[in-house]
Symmetry: C2
Subunit: 180 residues, 2 copies
């Protein structure tokens, strides 16, 4: 999968053929077709792979930082699209967003991974409240929306918007302001 | 172009073949190939078409509203991805973003259209300051970044970030907060 997802990140899932994947993996086209029977399977697996890599990387690095503020800054830092691994992960995500707008069957995975991301942000926010370094309303539902910008879901991926989630947001904004 | 860009919005530029475009336009594949010689030309033209439609729509509607606050709300309202025309435009944009990350030759157009969008937001911000309905710092460089979320450019499309553009942003945040 390592060779496959990098190929897709660099060239785009539509430009990568079964034969390219087989060559990159040192296997036969028959084997590739067996593992990826459908048109969207390669991109779906690539996303799964890069999300789990990002999650493992985050978990390891964040656990080492006790302070919630430092942990939040680290999380943002880990997501900055520097050339290499993280930029390639962003390429896969962008492709997946565009495809999920066209193909509803990709949306469940998108939402699942995004929930996981929201959960990560929310846990750091709660930690910051316990430590007294974040405002008391840092955990409200809108937090991660503002963190990423509400327009990440311009096509309405079937999420119900919480009317109490009042847009962007204390912690997200403040931290972005410091960084950007 | 009308028939072509809708086809791309609904099915994705990679899934639309020359023959599909010819059929939708009631012309020959030879004519389509003449107009779109390169692989990216169809998507590039689709973006151009939908951006100019959106711009014409915005200009007409916004001009009718004198009050800058009302004008800004209208601008946001016009961009909400309701099913139909605007959702289809978002589909084209998402596809173009993903492709521009892969193919540098698409980035100039992306930056040009985004500059136009920034200009629209900035002009309304200035109007609001003249009218005294927006804060004095509403026009600072970061305004439109925050309006859209800074992560719209996760792959570094060759824009130089202004270090004084201090993230998200008075007007954008406040208006989003009211709306969302």
């Amino acid at each position: 999968m390592e060779a496959t997802w990098q190929l897709i990140a660099e060239r785009g899932s539509h430009s990568v053929r079964i034969a390219d994947i087989a060559r990159a993996c040192g296997t036969s086209t028959g084997t590739v077709r067996y593992h990826f029977p459908g048109k969207n399977d390669v991109l779906a697996e690539a996303l799964k792979h890069c999300v789990s890599q990002a999650f493992a990387r985050q978990s390891a690095e964040l656990r080492a930082i006790d302070d919630a503020h430092g942990r939040m800054l680290k999380l943002i830092d880990l997501q900055l699209p520097r050339p290499g691994q993280v930029r390639d992960e962003w390429s896969i995500r962008l492709q997946h967003w565009a495809e999920a707008a066209l193909r509803p069957e990709l949306r469940a995975a998108h939402n699942e991974y995004y929930d996981r991301w929201q959960d990560t942000v929310r846990r750091i926010a709660r930690r910051g409240q316990r430590q007294g370094v974040f405002r008391a309303d840092a955990e409200r539902p809108g937090l991660t929306w503002g963190f990423y910008g509400d327009d990440h879901f311009p096509l309405g991926y079937g999420r119900r918007r919480d009317p109490t989630a009042a847009g962007p947001l204390g912690v997200g904004c403040d931290i972005k302001r410091q960084l950007l």
